[in-house]
Amino acid sequence: MTIKVGDKIPSVKIKHMTKDGVKDITTDEIFGGKKVALFALPGAFTPTCSAKHLPGFVQNAAQIKSKGVNTIACLSVNDAFVMDAWGKNQNVGENVLMLADGNAELTKALGLEMDGSGYGMGTRSRRYSMLVDNGVVTQLNVEKPGAFEVSNAETMLKQL
């Protein structure tokens, strides 16, 4: 079942790249006691994700954080090496935490997976954004397949 506003983010372990290599990170560590703007997308280095979705959050990072968001996180069903390379390629710096859900564990736990096999991508994440306050979803913007209308940084800014 798909997560909805008011639900608690399930406990799952994913990965992210650190100076010391790939490390586990739990949803408790990501969301516990914090206000987090999370956005997810079908794949690193894909056209919409690289040209619009991620750059929008990078450009609006300071503004989003000035409205009380502690962490901006980008989630995709890619591994930590790919997410790290993509973040560097997009000059993400410290603005956005690049989260690797390579096994699609978190994505499936949220009920937001989609079958990208038709594009040679296996199981991936739908495109969405959400605001999570201390682990509880307070805003959720899930795109229709192929769309990029409601999950952008500008919409999220207005919801803060």
């Binding site: 994913i14 990965k15 790939v22 794949g43 690193a44 280095f45 894909t46 056209p47 069903v77 890619n78 591994d79 930590a80 090496f81 790919v82 790290d84 390379a85 993509w86 390629n89 690797a100 859900d101 390579g102 096994n103 699609a104 990208g116 096999s117 594009y119 040679g120 991508m121 296996g122």
Partner: protein, 160 residues
């Protein structure tokens, strides 16, 4: 069952990036009437793959082609966008054909898949190299998990 020397490459579809976006490519198109050096690896942008395996084939591309190889192809269970971005970051140009087996269809048909969910990778390819002559495997160098000893470009050169 894993493929072995003397076997014919099974029919499968992979993808590769073109000027017009990702396109499908069949194993027939890839192998028919050609001598192909194929190497498979666990993931784009990962340490051994980026630091040694792919660069070795880029550096030895001319030497391999001098010995009768028509195509050098790199296969990974990543999508075409990631393989393209990785190829560019490694200055592959047209020396190595970057093949995206995002659904692991080709890798599973060869019986060379490996479950790397433990490191957040999902299902991936083992590390190997092979020489395929008109669709038939002539040499196969399959690494033990974690090793990079026998699937390098230098070994393949000696086998030609």
């Amino acid at each position: 069952m894993a493929i072995k020397v003397g076997d014919r490459i099974p029919s499968a579809k992979v993808r590769h990036m073109t000027k017009d976006g990702p396109k499908e490519m069949t194993t027939d198109e890839l192998f028919k009437g050609k001598k192909v050096a194929v190497f498979g690896l666990p993931g784009a942008f990962t340490r051994t793959c980026s630091g040694q395996h792919l660069p070795g084939f880029v550096q030895n591309a001319d030497a391999l082609k001098d010995k009768g190889i028509n195509t050098i192809a790199c296969v990974s269970v990543n999508d075409a966008f990631v393989m393209d971005a990785w190829g560019k970051s490694q200055n592959v140009a047209d020396k190595v054909l970057m093949l995206a087996d995002g659904n692991a269809e080709f890798t599973k048909a060869l019986g060379l898949e490996i479950d790397r969910s433990d490191v957040g990778f999902g299902m991936r390819s083992q590390r190997y190299s092979m020489i395929v002559d008109d669709g038939v495997v002539k040499q196969l160098n399959l690494e033990k998990p974690g090793a990079f000893e026998i699937s390098g470009a230098e070994t393949l050169l000696k086998q030609l």
